[in-house]
Subunit: 215 residues, 2 copies
């Protein structure tokens, strides 16, 4: 009875992702989407809804298909996993097809898109996912003895006295280090959009990782 779609929605959505990723939502018109996807206005609205829903769908596809967190999350080498992640990040941002595009998530932070609560939820969720991946990698690194000798004798009381003696003294430090690295990733995404030099960015992230390593 029913007719079936004459195009691949996922392929079309991928074209939309690349459009919004590179040029931003506000400066991209529906006509641009029509031109890029090749499909018609009617099909567009029938499939995805209006522009807001289209952007949301594109953003979700981006975090699903284009965010390269999986290698980091599944890599249990510790510090080398983090280094490789950041080197891959810098490369992806500064060279190749998507050079100068930045990160669609980071870009969404700065625009008016995050007025949408659903968009903001995606942003927070992705940031937490990145933080957790980095934290796990740092924990693995400490387990492997890749982090310099410093975990002993730290933790000068502080406010959180709830920790029993069994917990690791460096847990809070690792969490903070993961936060620093997560923020650093955002900044790499940002600066790469202004054409920052790849070597410069690479050296900077290397320095940050080194500071965390020999602490």
């Amino acid at each position: 009875m029913p007719d079936v779609k004459h195009f691949d929605p996922e392929a079309a959505l991928d074209a939309v992702v690349r459009l919004f990723w590179r040029r931003g939502v506000a400066t991209t018109g529906i006509q641009d989407v029509v031109d890029a996807t090749g499909l018609n206005r009617s099909s567009l609205y029938a499939t995805f809804g209006g522009k807001r829903e289209l952007y949301r769908a594109a953003l979700e596809r981006y975090v699903r298909e284009r965010s390269n967190l999986a290698p980091l999350e599944q890599d249990d080498r510790g510090l080398p996993a983090i280094t490789d992640f950041f080197h891959g990040l810098v490369d992806a941002r500064c060279t190749g097809e998507h050079a100068g595009w930045g990160c669609m998530i980071s870009n969404a932070h700065a625009g008016a898109e995050n007025d949408d609560p659903q968009v903001r939820a995606v942003l927070d969720r992705q940031h937490e996912r990145l933080h957790n991946a980095l934290l796990n990698a740092l924990r693995t690194a400490r387990r492997h003895g890749q982090l310099g000798p410093d975990t002993a004798g730290t933790d000068t009381a502080g406010s959180n006295t709830a920790d029993p003696g069994a917990t690791d003294p460096g847990t809070a430090d690792l969490d903070a280090a993961a936060s620093v690295l997560a923020l650093l990733a955002h900044a790499v995404n940002l600066r790469s959009r202004a054409g920052a030099d790849a070597r410069q960015l690479r050296d900077t992230v290397d320095a940050a990782i080194a500071m965390i390593a020999r602490r």
Copy 2:
């Protein structure tokens, strides 16, 4: 003979700054500018030109009046200057009148504004200015012995203020550390726009500074 301007261009431009800063360029129309400034279209175009020139003028006024780099540049206390700078940054981004607005420079990175070479030049110039200010503060910190013992094993935990004109062994390290902090500032600006927690950001920048201090 000629009539004189019936408004204050600087005051009007300041209103434009706040408009573009908060909502972005792409999503702000000329009509919004007219409403915010109180003056009409003709005066607007006669005084500033089109939207691009208006944005450029607003951006330049932002870096001139709203970027809080002067205190850091003139503060010769070393590490405390850096700490105060970042604490002030987090406060300004998360509380008060401009909470959640981020930084107009950081925002410009993510948008389509930086297609304009003149805009990109402002971005690079401001980034370099931040980097230099942080680097100078770090040099001062080392001169004051506020940085941990690591510089090629010269002195062990000494408040050594020597190290005269000779080539500094830790210059490259300081430069990299300044780059890390500069990127961190960008990331704070970015995440604050998504409503990141002030304490979280504060703890993170404190951790980064601490990592640099005891290196």
